[in-house]
Symmetry: C2
Subunit: 151 residues, 2 copies
């Protein structure tokens, strides 16, 4: 009986959390476009830092700091947009992000933390430190993509 | 002769400016997706402020300030992505944004200025002032869309 109560209460909690996520978007396709837009912009600005840390572009500390700031800002945004029921349909998102939402949120929180740290490191302007933290962020992206992104 | 020199020098300046814009993007379609992503996110977060100033949602000052901050951050980003030659093809962008790039940049700079002001006003937390500046930003969006966006 106690067990049933826990299941019911948890179910209500999850449903209301998903409701909050859905309520931010007028339509499911808005949630999809929101997260895809955010991810694309993260890719663009993270990629610009990549060109520097991989030696394909000159190191301009202010430009790298600006890009890292943007990546950190964007990385705080898209997670709710993944929590909209049915929004995995026809997209690269795996249903696992919804069914294993705790795991997804933990992976997302880790990316958020590491991109915030990249912004801090970039502001300090040491290229070796930026390169190291760039790698850590890349791993945090990959860890989440490996589990929750299909092809 | 002097006139010809001016024309040539200006031509080189414009070409190099366009070159800078194009160089930020590996492919023309990246520029298109970049600006479309940014504009979509601006619409989402500006829309969330709209729901409050139009009385459809309760006024939570911190949430409005966060959304206004995001709009101001995004509004600094997309303009270069419009200056990529050929990137109007098959999109809502009118060729006029390229042929009248000075006019476009002035309209863009105005939107940037007014969204920055909205972020300031929102941080102060007065709903009437936010509503007034929300309208000014809306006008700045419309002024640019009317001239440089087709259907």
């Amino acid at each position: 009986m106690k067990r049933l109560l826990i299941v019911v209460v948890c179910g209500v909690c999850v449903a209301s959390l998903l409701g909050v996520a859905a309520a931010q978007f007028a339509r499911t396709e808005d949630a999809v476009r929101y997260r895809q837009s955010t991810m694309f912009l993260i890719g663009q600005h993270f990629g610009r830092i990549g060109e520097v840390v991989q030696g394909r572009k000159d190191f301009e500390p202010a430009a790298v700091a600006k890009n890292a700031d943007l990546v950190a800002t964007f990385a705080r945004l898209p997670w709710d947009a993944f929590m909209v029921p049915g929004s995995d349909s026809g997209t690269q998102m795996r249903g696992a992000a919804l069914s294993d939402s705790d795991g997804f949120k933990a992976a997302a929180a880790n990316s958020e933390k590491e991109t915030a740290k990249l912004a801090e490191v970039a502001a300090a302007g040491n290229l070796d430190a930026i390169r190291a933290q760039f790698g850590v962020v890349g791993q945090s992206c990959k860890a989440c993509h490996d589990k929750y992104r299909g092809r």
